[in-house]
């Protein structure tokens, strides 16, 4: 698996270098036109906070080892293991030099939904912008407003530890061309407002598929295996199937799922574990209606 990925990515890099112009044009960083981020008005900070928890930013960007309110210090630095090497989430606190305090809404929004950094560079999809791409400009504006209220931190996170060729951001253009899309992941009845909301939360800010969907050799989702479970990127064990076909949660009612997201207890009174612990703590901060919407969506996706 690892070798195959490496070969394919080297291929993409090669294409990038040799194909030169055409490849560059096809895969150059593509921020939104400026108008996309204009006229959004004053942010709604209460909604921004909800978006913040739905998006789970603390899981990756919080200062390592903090508890409670210390989790709101987004100084970054925690190592994130992947088959491509170890990433260190950057400082995204409102500090003007170490963090992103000096960014504009457009710069922030383009990072979140286009994977384009402040200097126009491609960002790595270990930052789950391939899910966040579905977020509305309003939610991004509210989130940005809320994040500016968080404590500043002056820590500078270590650089990523990535072997060649993954250390080349250029190759990410090819990845985006193949995999960065905002089309729905699963067909559900969006006339039903609850399901539409659940779809938005799960496929967008909640980025549930980033862990629960298996990936192909290039690190893109297996489209036909949406939420069907995947190997654990940290090594042993598996991330469970959360479609109605799951041996485990297939038997749970929608309210069982909602109460798991709220309390961390399964209907058998097993308790949440692994990387889901962080996700569950974030989900516990959402409104009951949003947890119910997520549960309704998980009951409605194709059973795998």
């Amino acid at each position: 698996m690892g070798r195959r990925i490496r070969k394919l990515v080297s291929g993409l890099v090669f294409l990038g270098l040799v194909g030169g112009g055409a490849f560059w044009w096809l895969t150059k960083p593509a921020p939104w036109p400026a108008a996309h981020w204009e006229g959004l008005g004053e942010p709604d900070l209460a909604n921004g906070e909800q978006v913040f928890w739905a998006g789970g930013c603390v899981s990756c960007h919080a200062k390592p080892g903090g508890e409670g309110d210390a989790r709101l210090v987004l100084s970054g630095g925690a190592p994130l293991k992947s088959p491509f090497g170890t990433f260190h989430a950057p400082n995204i606190s409102p500090d003007e030099t170490a963090g992103i305090g000096a960014w504009t809404l457009a710069e922030f929004g383009n990072a979140m939904t286009r994977g384009v950094g402040r200097n126009g560079e491609h960002l790595y999809p270990s930052f789950p912008y391939a899910s966040y791409v579905r977020m509305t400009p309003k939610d991004i504006n509210d989130l940005w407003g809320y994040m500016k209220t968080l404590p500043k931190a002056s820590d500078v996170a270590p650089g990523h530890e990535l072997p060649f060729p993954y250390n080349l951001r250029l190759a990410l253009g090819g990845w985006k061309l193949l995999f960065l899309t905002d089309t729905p992941r699963a067909a559900v009845d969006t006339a039903d407002a609850k399901l539409a909301r659940g779809q938005y939360l799960v496929e967008g800010p909640g980025h549930c598929g980033e862990c629960h969907t298996p990936r192909n050799a290039l690190g893109g989702f297996e489209a036909s295996q949406w939420l069907a479970g995947a190997p654990n990127p940290e090594g042993e064990g598996r991330i469970p199937n959360i479609t109605p076909g799951s041996k485990s949660i297939g038997g749970w009612s929608a309210s069982d799922i909602a109460s798991y997201l709220e309390s961390g207890f399964t209907p058998e009174f097993d308790s949440v574990g692994g990387s889901m612990v962080e996700v569950q703590k974030n989900m516990a901060k959402l409104s009951a209606a949003d947890r119910e919407a997520i549960s309704a969506y998980l009951k409605a996706v194709p059973a795998l």
Partner: protein, 148 residues
């Protein structure tokens, strides 16, 4: 009602027939212990959610079960029991046995502290359960791995 409460308390305390299992492999023993902790937690959650009426005896018995079980739980991870019998124990337990034991002890002492000041109503049980749930999650986060 009274009788059912007593029976439940007895079962939770490990006096029930089901507690005598044929399998005495450490993997099976510890899974059984965790199931017992799960059942006790479930009894507390039933009260916290208002699905069952508040009953001081059940609350006491459930907390006692959790607290007592956690005293011996970490003894069932001898070398050689890292795999087999569908264990969901993470290899990290054997790398950080002291921390693993500390997490078990924390749940044990936190429940003992709740016992010493028994919650007097549904809301009190809910608050206690919140703290207990965090202890379950903080151990499962690092030391329990779902494998399917």
């Amino acid at each position: 009602m009274k009788i059912r409460a007593l029976m439940l308390a007895a079962a939770l305390a490990g006096l029930g027939v089901t507690a005598v299992t044929a399998a005495d492999e450490p993997q099976a023993v510890r899974q059984q212990l965790m199931k017992k902790v799960g059942a006790a937690t479930g009894a507390l959650a039933g009260i916290a959610k208002g699905e069952k009426p508040y009953d001081a005896e059940i609350v006491k018995a459930s907390l006692t079960t959790i607290s007592e079980t956690m005293k011996t739980f970490p003894d069932h991870f001898p070398a050689g029991s890292e795999t087999g019998m569908e264990t969901e124990a993470s290899p990290k337990i054997w790398e950080n046995m002291d921390d693993f034991k500390a997490k078990a002890a924390k749940l044990g002492s936190d429940t003992a502290a709740v016992l010493a000041q028994l919650p007097a109503d549904q809301a009190g049980v809910g608050a206690a359960l919140g703290g207990i749930g965090k202890d379950c999650g903080s151990c499962h986060e690092t030391y329990r791995l779902k494998k399917n």
